[in-house]
Amino acid sequence: MTSENDDMGLAMSSISMFNKSSNTSDSFFSSCWDPIVSQSGSLGGSSMASHYHLVMENQGISGTSHVSHYQSDPSFVELVSKLTGFDGGNLSQMVGPFSLPQCNQVANRRCPPNFTLNTEGGNERGSTNSLRFLDEHRISKEALVGTSPNGKIRKCAPESGSPLRSCKNGDEEPVMDLSSEGCDGPREQARKKPETEQNTGANSRGKQAVKQDKDSSQSEEAPKENYIHVRARRGQATNSHSLAERVRREKISERMRLLQELVPGCNKITGKAVMLDEIINYVQSLQQQVEFLSMKLATVNPEINLDLDRILSKDILHQRSGSAAVLGLGPGSNSPYGFSPSTFPGTISGIPNKNPQFPPLPQTVLENELLNLFQMGFSGSTMDGFGLNGIHRSKQSYIF
């Protein structure tokens, strides 16, 4: 630890701004990161401090094996110190122009020789992962800006630390995953979709690609909200394409579920193709109902004057059970959707009414007129798709 402290002494001496705390603390990390904490205000938020705290915690948990990688971090601190002259803006803006290999080079310059091995190992991984690290760093920064869930992030860190330990790739992987796991705390706040690709590209290296996803929501690492941050679940394909695909598929299935609730009678249906067919039928029948009703309104005689329209609008808006009572339906009738199509085909097109509980509505005169009109209209009209056969077919499917 002494050589580390020496290194820390070197690093700290170059950081003239961080004089506020003593450098003689026992642990490597508290001495390193306290100045950052104190500087957090100028750096534009506690988010950065929390991020480094996060990294710290990981180190605290996983022990000294990861110490070597944080040789680069004093250089980070140095870079940060240089950049505090900026207006405390985004860390991403600060970190952006600096790539990790640079940091590693700086660290290598300072590191005593007995740490060169580890740092070189860290260096190669750093260079390969530099871009990803920065991306994730940027992502984590953007995700953490404006939020102060320090407690949340720290809670996430130990939880997610353990599954990450299972990954066999380098030691930097837990760091990167945790930094992105830090995003998960305020997951709802982040927005951009391209970040998903970057995150998935980074995280996929930590997992093994064995088979395609069969277990959709039962894996223990199932993300709670897969909009921004997608992690490859265990036993699933992990290249970025399939992860993006999986996100899409889940979105689509979520929407299908919503549609299932909208369309009546689709609770038992499983299977997207059948569901889509049902949806198509439903939309078609609704559109045809609108046409029916507009035809009906066209034929109705307007004995009623304008005042009644006002009353009508109020009544239409305010009374729902009223009209049902008017039409002679009991409260124990079918769902409103089941009611609606059966009235029209039941009277207009002469389909025998399959639901005997619907009493004949007092509109038979109008319906006859409509029927005549349809028959005349079909001979030479331009009604699109308004055939009786079509009505028969589609309506029958909805008479429960």
Partner: protein
């Protein structure tokens, strides 16, 4: 007689109802229904249908792609001068920030998705995800439309 709970005056239903009733009275005022010839009635039926679609689309404004597409279609139909298809596609694609996917999205929905695209106005320029969103909203609006029109028709016929 009225319900104890007040209807939200800004809900979709109330917006549609007021607009539609206004349009209906305007249509009724245009011609008395003394002549019940089929052509007259048919013409009025068309007007009422257009009015219903228009009032529904206006109630939703530009918040949804399908309403924008429908409004655009109605406007261009009334003008009837420019080529409809190209400009329609342009405007719709300008409004949607997603790319068109003609075939499958890797999920295998090809046939049904294209059918759905024909049904939902403006559906040609949407990918499957947004198409399903729009379909859900469209279904909701259609059911509102049907409910309101049914009640109007019932009141008129009694």
């Amino acid at each position: 007689m009225n319900n104890p709970h007040h209807m939200n005056p800004r809900s979709l239903k109330s917006r549609f109802t007021t607009r539609f009733l206004r349009a209906l009275t305007k249509i009724r005022a245009q011609k008395p229904i003394s002549s019940s010839s089929p052509t007259e009635i048919f013409r009025r039926y068309r007007k009422i249908k257009v009015a219903a679609d228009k009032s529904m689309a206006y109630s939703v404004r530009s918040r949804k792609t399908w309403s924008r597409a429908m409004l655009w279609k109605l406007r261009s139909r009334s003008h009837r001068r420019r080529p409809v298809k190209t400009k329609f596609r342009q405007s719709v694609m300008k409004n949607t920030k997603t790319t068109t996917t003609t075939g499958e999205d890797g999920v295998g929905f090809g046939v049904e998705a294209s059918e759905l695209r024909e049904l939902v106005p403006g559906g040609e320029a949407m990918d499957l995800c947004n198409l399903l969103d729009e379909t859900a909203h469209y279904i909701k609006c259609l059911t509102t439309q049907v409910q309101v029109m049914k009640k109007i028709a019932d009141f008129y016929s009694l």
